[in-house]
Amino acid sequence: MSDILAQLTGVSRIYQKGKEKVEVLHQLDLEIPDGDFVAIMGPSGSGKTTLLNLLGGLDKPTAGTVNVGGAELSSMSNNQLSRWRSNHVGFIFQFYNLLPVLTAHRNVELPLLLTNFSAKERAKRASIALDIVGLADRAKHYPRELSGGQEQRVAIARAIVSDPSLLLCDEPTGDLDRDTADEILRLLQVLNREHGKTIVMVTHDAQAAEFAKRTLHCDKGTLEAKEAA
């Protein structure tokens, strides 16, 4: 594989819960090469989502550094992180998290509102993203008019519309049946192989992890590599 896109060095994350301190990640080191598709598995509370949040600039480490695409996230302000996220990372959630008041097209267009693109350009890019996920014909549908799988495809279109290099997926198939889950995972593979997106996917599902190029196991705040898929 090629250059390193994301690098975590000596990362610890400690949360204060009442009077107690809980160390979720312990001096963790991780390198994610550009173009990688990595699945992170592990039991609940093992630190998977925290790791994802750190990679996405949603959280900051208590110790250590997080570097993604040359940007040192741990030293950025909240506003800088917001701007960075809008340009460099796409998020895909378990429960899709689409805005129910907007159509599929408008949901996909949402991240582009933060750019200086004209309305026409935004519409064009949103249409392309919907086309990539195979939902061009559902552009005017509201989330309530879509199936779970279709909602997740819209969420994926929203994640890729601003052409980020990194996609972070938190249990993207956790709310879907097996067949639909496989469709979504194949779509992620296409995005990884044909569009060059680097994907980090947290999952409980061993079958889902098989779609990734490699799997890491997270337990008690540390990572352990498993054999490649």
Binding site: N78, N79, R85, N97, P111, L113, L114
Partner: protein, 385 residues
Amino acid sequence: MKYFRLIWKNAWRKKVRTSLTILSVFVAFLLFALLSAIGFAFRGGVDVADAERLVVIHKVSLINPLPMSYLNRIAATDGVASVTHASWFGGYYQEPRNQFGQFPVDPDTYFAMYPELQIAEERLKAFKRNRTGAVVGQELAKQFGWEVGDRIPIQATIWSRTDGERTWEFDLEGIFSTDDPRGSTAYMLFQYDFFEEARAFGKGTAGWYILRVANGADPVQVAKTVDLQFANSPNETKTSTEAAFAQSFMKQFGNIALIVMLILGAVFFTLLLVSGNTMSQSVRERISELAVLKTVGFGDRTVLGIVLSESILIMLMGGLLGLGLGWLIVQGLAKQMGAFLPGVFLSPGAIATGIAMMVGAGVLAGIFPAVKAMRLSIIDALARA
């Protein structure tokens, strides 16, 4: 503007709730429009007052008349350029609800004192020639459909005639207008000489005097000099500017400005509670959506702006509708009540104040939920979702 669709869609997320909130804003601003217009009518005399004119009234009360002999003494006072007088007649036309101002005046000096009153020269001459003649403002003529040549019976509520009759008949000789758009013309002027001759009591008196201050003279000093020369007499005077006179006239009806302010204060306080509650609920319901916005890169200030704009939008929707309907009603009211309460008018200043209040109320109602949305922790919100 690119966020407008998002703001608009969020505002209408719960149609019934938003409609009810808009309805309450609508009612508040409808009330604001009506009360502002009525307040303007009561304040009207103050706004059009001329600083060069002073009004001399009885020190005890406006109701007490002053001796006619004061006219020459006031005219001879240093700093007085000219003087005229007027009295309150207090009658109605046909029915008691048709009340408006009628004033017996000296036509020569009165029209000279009020150059803003415009009347055709031949009509003014005809008025001066006819002892039972009268002139009315165009607002009044329009309301009652009067034309020059009409005979107008006025039923007196104070002044009976020497023959015991309470009906006074006047020949309409002219219709006057004013070049000041804020000034009312909903009143009638008739000959003092006729009034003086025909009234059963109170002869030799006038209600009040109006004087014009000579060029270069100090109005404050002139007022003092006038009052001083009648000090310690049975009819002491109080000389003030037209504005102060209009205000003291207004106070006969109570402190309208305070009443209007108290009503509006109560309405807007309630409005803030209602709309603030709506916005808080609306933000609570979409914590996870706000977290998603922040996740995809919407900054804290952008989120704050979106929530605040939503609150302002709701206020503007209800407020502009209320102000619009209020404006229409005020147009109708001005026609219906023109004679009884002239100058009912929704001024551009009141409209601008209304719009500023909509934005202000929107900010106040939305600021707490907006700050809450701004400070939202993405991780906590997504975990809760």
